[in-house]
């Protein structure tokens, strides 16, 4: 989600709440003989407000499970998730008097900080990366289908090269057809460089991984081949470009969604431990 003008109302509301909470905390801290306490009425109020913000932020996941329910627009939920989740950090810091406290509260505070920071990081990525992806990955596909598309690209490339060079039998090179003199450079280049590059997603090929270097290599290959094979070279070049984009998409996707590996599980743990903290705070 891009953070644009549509967030203005949420931003202003969050700033007002933050300002009011800060003012209350400053006055309260200055007037408390023993310093602020999370167990006092004001301290508890901060804790409850912060917890409610966290619970609302956590409900986004539940909301996504029932997209057809008429519970407000998904964008509104996401904005609430962003801003109230962010607001929960200062409110909980006020509740905890900027101390980590004991074992459980320390864990809670660390979890909250990691969750909020990872959320900010994720929000920044979600804001900046989609336009970058649109520009740099015009061949973008569904992330889960990348491996399938790559397999199709490999099959397409194999088919094209075999149409020119004859059956290459990549599994058993001993039985492979010996290419003619005209097609030999294409055959060798494909077998040595292109196919491993397409076959294994982690295969490192500094030349083919770089668009400019790859263009130079393919240009050199054309000079070794008759003009009738130049179309195949062009197609291979396109397939390599698509492979590069899919690799880039995979990389970007890991950035774009990798933070959720931290954010979501830790959020759930935070809510669970937060409940335990609230119950035991009633006791002690």
């Amino acid at each position: 989600m891009r953070i644009d003008r549509t967030h203005r109302a949420w931003l202003i509301a969050s700033l007002i709440i933050f300002g009011v909470a800060t003012a209350i905390y400053v006055v309260y801290a200055a007037s408390s003989p023993a310093g602020p306490s999370g167990g006092s009425a004001i301290g508890l109020a901060f804790g409850i407000a912060g917890s409610l913000c966290m619970i609302f932020a956590g409900l986004l996941a539940a909301r996504k499970k029932v997209p057809v329910w008429r519970l407000g627009r998904a964008q509104t939920w996401m904005r609430g998730h962003l801003w109230l989740g962010l607001l929960s950090l200062p409110l909980i810091l006020f509740h905890g008097e900027f101390r980590f406290g004991g074992p459980l509260t320390s864990v809670l505070m660390v979890l909250l900080i990691v969750v909020v920071v990872s959320g900010i990081f994720g929000a920044a990525l979600q804001h900046y990366m989609p336009p970058v992806m649109t520009t740099r990955i015009p061949m973008e596909t569904i992330f889960e289908q990348i491996d399938r598309v790559r397999a199709q690209l490999l099959a397409e490339a194999d088919e094209m090269v075999e149409s020119a060079c004859g059956p290459l039998n990549f599994q058993d090179t001993a039985t492979a057809t010996i290419a003619t003199t005209d097609t030999l450079p294409l055959c060798n280049f494909y077998r040595r460089d292109v196919r491993p590059f397409l076959h294994r997603s982690r295969a490192q090929n500094p030349a083919l991984s770089n668009r400019v270097k790859a263009a130079g290599i393919f240009e050199g290959l054309r000079t070794l081949l008759p003009a009738t094979l130049h179309d195949i070279v062009k197609n291979l070049e396109d397939i390599c470009e698509e492979e590069r984009q899919l690799r880039r998409q995979t990389r970007y996707h890991h950035w774009l969604h990798g933070w959720l590996m931290l954010h979501v599980p830790l959020s759930l743990a935070l809510l669970l431990l937060g409940c335990a903290h609230a119950i035991m705070a009633l006791r002690y």
Binding site: A34, F100, Q152, I232, P265, M280, Y284
Partner: protein, 446 residues
């Protein structure tokens, strides 16, 4: 053979339309983590619950003095029968501590935790915030008669009145005539030649190794007899306060109490009754060995131009003793004792009335001061008046501005909060606490 153009339709045909039915490993991993982490959190809580250990719910580290109780939550958090709540209350504190009330006329009594906040790490619990004091003392009201204390104290720097002993009209109530300026002069006549007295020769805190330079050989430090109000039990009053000035420790070597040339020994520094008995005994012991001295020659000075005839009398031993005692007392009370003591001669009284010395042992009756922690300073840095003081009535305490030179607040200055000098509890009223904790107190028991 040109490659077919990748239209939207062709791109769509690449996709397995049922792909969402099989979660990608990326999503699967996220799901696994989303289940695993809360489960780990539950196991963590469960582990402590099974071990009946609530320490993980602690609000923070215990103070240094209570650290030994970190594993015994129930010592302070006493659960009432049938109640879930086990909040710490004053009752828990009173089990071990007898913290006397501050003042009988205070408007309210705060809870222990209002000033001494636990679970905040290792700082001393006695380190309380100024607001704990200024909550009342910034605008002091009492439940009884109007207070005679300053009623608008807000802080030490700039919000605290001058010390009571230095306010206009205050004098040193002591009656011993002491001229500090003379005693600090160069080449003062000492018992074995000229000396230069130092403050330390008369004013020291009580230390076991103390040897007084100008005291008598049998002078020993005596316990400091102080009004213990406002002195916390943790404070070593002996090291904090100056040893009381006494004749035996500080004056005897120079100011001897010789009473008669027949004796090297001086009179005891004691009451007139004791001195009288001492003198009588001394002369009674002396005269049997010197019977010739019973012959007393009276000189007739009525005819100054004539040779002086002498009349010889023979006294009884009793008469001789009484005569010598009278002469010795005259010397002592008119000269030797009067040099330092204020004596009141009453007609027909056997001896003068000696005014009580009334040397102030502790000037700050409502605050504590620790000389030991200030020992790195030169005495005259604070007590500069001692160099020029000639009168006993001079109060040589430093003013509040002297204290503020160091105790001015801020990170690079000495402590200036109220607790540094004042204690809330009236430790004079402290009752004893009977210890009840076994050595195994640090073991886990919730």
């Amino acid at each position: 053979m040109a490659r077919a153009k990748l239209t939207t339709k062709k791109l769509a045909q690449r996709i397995d339309l049922g792909y969402f039915k099989h979660p990608h490993p990326f999503r699967r991993l996220r799901f696994i983590l989303s289940v695993a982490l809360p489960v780990i959190a539950l196991l963590w809580l469960g582990w402590y619950a099974l071990a009946r250990n609530d320490r993980i719910y602690s609000g923070g580290r215990m103070s240094a003095s209570h650290a030994v109780l970190s594993a015994r939550c129930s010592t302070c958090h006493v659960a009432q029968a049938g109640a879930f709540s086990a909040r710490a209350s004053d009752q828990g504190c009173d089990t071990c501590h007898d913290a006397p009330v501050h003042h009988a006329n205070q408007m309210f009594t705060p809870t222990c935790a209002a000033c001494h906040t636990e679970h905040r790490g290792h700082p001393r619990l006695a380190v309380t915030a100024d607001i704990s004091c200024t909550e009342c003392h910034a605008n002091l009201h009492t439940s009884g008669a109007a207070t005679h204390f300053v009623s608008d104290i807000t802080r030490f720097n700039g919000g605290h009145p001058e010390f009571a002993a230095l306010r206009p009209g205050s004098v040193d109530p002591g009656t011993i005539k002491l001229n500090h300026a003379i005693h600090l002069k160069h080449n003062l006549r000492g018992p074995n030649g000229p000396v230069q007295l130092d403050c330390d020769d008369c004013h020291r805190t009580v230390r076991p190794e103390s040897r007084w330079r100008f005291g008598s050989s049998d002078a020993h430090d005596q316990p400091v007899n102080l009004n213990l109000r406002a002195i916390p039990p943790s404070m070593d009053a002996g090291r904090a306060y100056m040893s009381p000035v006494t004749y035996a420790k500080h004056c005897a070597a120079c100011h001897g109490l010789q009473f008669d040339p027949r004796f090297q020994e001086g009179a005891p520094h004691d009451t007139p009754e004791v001195i009288r008995a001492f003198l009588v005994q001394k002369f009674q012991q002396y005269i049997p060995g010197h019977p010739a001295e019973l012959r007393v020659t009276d000189l007739n000075r009525n005819l100054p131009q004539q040779p002086i005839p002498s009349a010889v009398r023979v006294l009884t031993e009793q008469q001789w003793v009484m005569l010598r005692v009278a002469e010795s007392e005259e010397l002592l009370y008119r000269k030797t004792c009067a040099q330092c003591h204020a004596l009141l001669f009453v007609a027909n009284a056997p001896w003068p009335i000696v005014a009580k010395s009334d040397i102030t042992q502790r000037w700050f009756q409502h605050a504590v001061f620790n000389h030991d922690t200030h020992k790195l300073l030169k005495c005259v840095e604070c007590h500069s008046g001692a160099l020029t003081s000639q009168e006993t009535a001079d109060v040589l305490l430093p003013g509040i501005q002297t204290c503020e030179k160091c105790h001015r607040g801020g990170r690079e200055a000495a402590e200036s909060r109220c607790f540094e000098c004042h204690t809330y509890h009236d430790w004079n009223r402290e009752k004893g606490v009977k210890g009840s904790f076994p050595l195994s107190a640090s073991s886990r028991d919730n």
